[in-house]
Symmetry: C2
Subunit: 344 residues, 2 copies
Amino acid sequence: MRATVLHGAGDVRIEVVPDPKLIEPTDAIVTVRSACICGSDLWPYNLMEPNGPHRRMGHEAIGVVQAIGSGVHTLKVNDVVLMPFAFSDGTCLFCQDGLQTSCIHGGFFGTVEVPGAQAEAVRVPLADGTLVVLPVDVDDAMMPSLLTLSDVMGTGHHAALRARVGPGKIVAVVGDGAVGLCGVIAARRLGAEQIIILGRRPDRTKLSSDFGATDVVSVRGEEAVERVRQLTGGLGAHSVLECVGTEQAILTAINIARAGGAIGRVGVPHYQAIPAAEPAFYSNVTISGGPAPVRAYIEELLPDVIEGRIQPGRVLDRVMGLDDVPDGYRAMNERKAIKVMVKP
Amino acid sequence: MRATVLHGAGDVRIEVVPDPKLIEPTDAIVTVRSACICGSDLWPYNLMEPNGPHRRMGHEAIGVVQAIGSGVHTLKVNDVVLMPFAFSDGTCLFCQDGLQTSCIHGGFFGTVEVPGAQAEAVRVPLADGTLVVLPVDVDDAMMPSLLTLSDVMGTGHHAALRARVGPGKIVAVVGDGAVGLCGVIAARRLGAEQIIILGRRPDRTKLSSDFGATDVVSVRGEEAVERVRQLTGGLGAHSVLECVGTEQAILTAINIARAGGAIGRVGVPHYQAIPAAEPAFYSNVTISGGPAPVRAYIEELLPDVIEGRIQPGRVLDRVMGLDDVPDGYRAMNERKAIKVMVKP
């Protein structure tokens, strides 16, 4: 089959690889009908060392079950399934607590160890715990929005929960990528009163307004902090969703949080230490977040997608075939696409 | 009157200073009957630059109201009052939210700007919002425990709340100072199942056992992390109370927190950045805490003290007169005393 292989920074290729096979009895093989390129894929795309182990990319997918192992009991061949970006057994104490991204037996797709879903098919470990059967046809028009439940919509929701968004709250979202935009949807959905997005690209901030953002701050650094203060009566935001992952972004997040507020960081951190340890302390700002247990959120978010109350699929502004995936990486890296949907 | 003045590192003196006077109509003057030396006083005691502005030290007190301004309505002369370490108006939106340490008009005692309570008397700004009338006599035997509600007991409670301690939780307390010991009391009080204290001094860890600690880890750094992992089935603690304030302590706190766990940091941070930004992210560990709004906690904790269910006053293991305060600083700095109570 064909699959996406990252060889080094800037060097992503579509290659013919062996078809995936059932290895463990708990595995399923899924024929991928739609996948995504993720903003987080751009980190290795830009930074991966040459001559290291290759990575089979992709961690978001909807597909059709092609085969199941003898230990899989909740799925059958031909089921249409949603694949979260992490696999998890669904039974360990972390899974029971709704933190499937810390599953004792789990892991992540699209790593050096576990081949990813930007491919014609993917092996899904711990299939019973991982996959969710979708109650719709694979060609349904709402497929893009459903696909975001694999990662970005669940991740925006996680940021909002960890930042303690709720009715009446003032929320700031740092970053206008797909996760930031889904963070706006999540904040609106959870009842936020004011939603300020920090982003610089007009097409994205326009979309954020459709999703419920009330204010756009398009400056950066100290200027952005000043502007958010102005927009919040000098006090800052109750809840800050950090959806970038740079040191500058987390610093801005801390500086725009109001005393007693909370930050949900979901941008994969590319910083060793969290800056502003003293200001965050003196203002009792809580710093939370991490890899979103999107598996835990699917049941809650799915009805809103199916009944059309939220349309996170609008962040998928390009659709490409598998052979065009290298162009998709370039388009996202140059910020010409918000997020690319891949139809293998 | 006599008061404690810090001139520079290691140079603390008892000096005659002008008696405090009412300045604002919302002020009260309180005759100090008992005060404390705080672990946090040791930071400037060790690090204060020479030739800088002097500091009138002390931020914990019980005393008797000597005079009130024309704008004070809830207090009267001769009331026995408890003074939290921060003053606050009790009416701003942060005070209403129970975060009096971020009061818009508030501040802290014992700073360069606001004279402290290791003195014969102290001026209390915003007296209505700040002071709490005690329903007991000033010579009551439970005075030491009541005095801890000025700071260390409320601070330990804040750490526990921010670390989300609750019934059945496994709690680790980093630090065996007065705050760490009060953190043990708070964790026990909130229903923790296992309480592991990280500390090296046998007299203190003995006291922690009396307070409810179930395990003592007396090694440090990587060894301590390993030991806590062993004590928690390899998973770490749900809740970690960071009661020291060094970079090593917060690093240990992050490394012993279980996935999805929370850290309540109340040690005044002497680090610029919070280390282990990536491990904390990947395990969804929440980092919270800050200056405790002890004013908010007095009503809740007071009955437990008065009815004898908790005895945080046991951390006050030395009592001294005002003239001996310099010896008190030395004793605490050399870890010969846990916490010194001062009777001016």
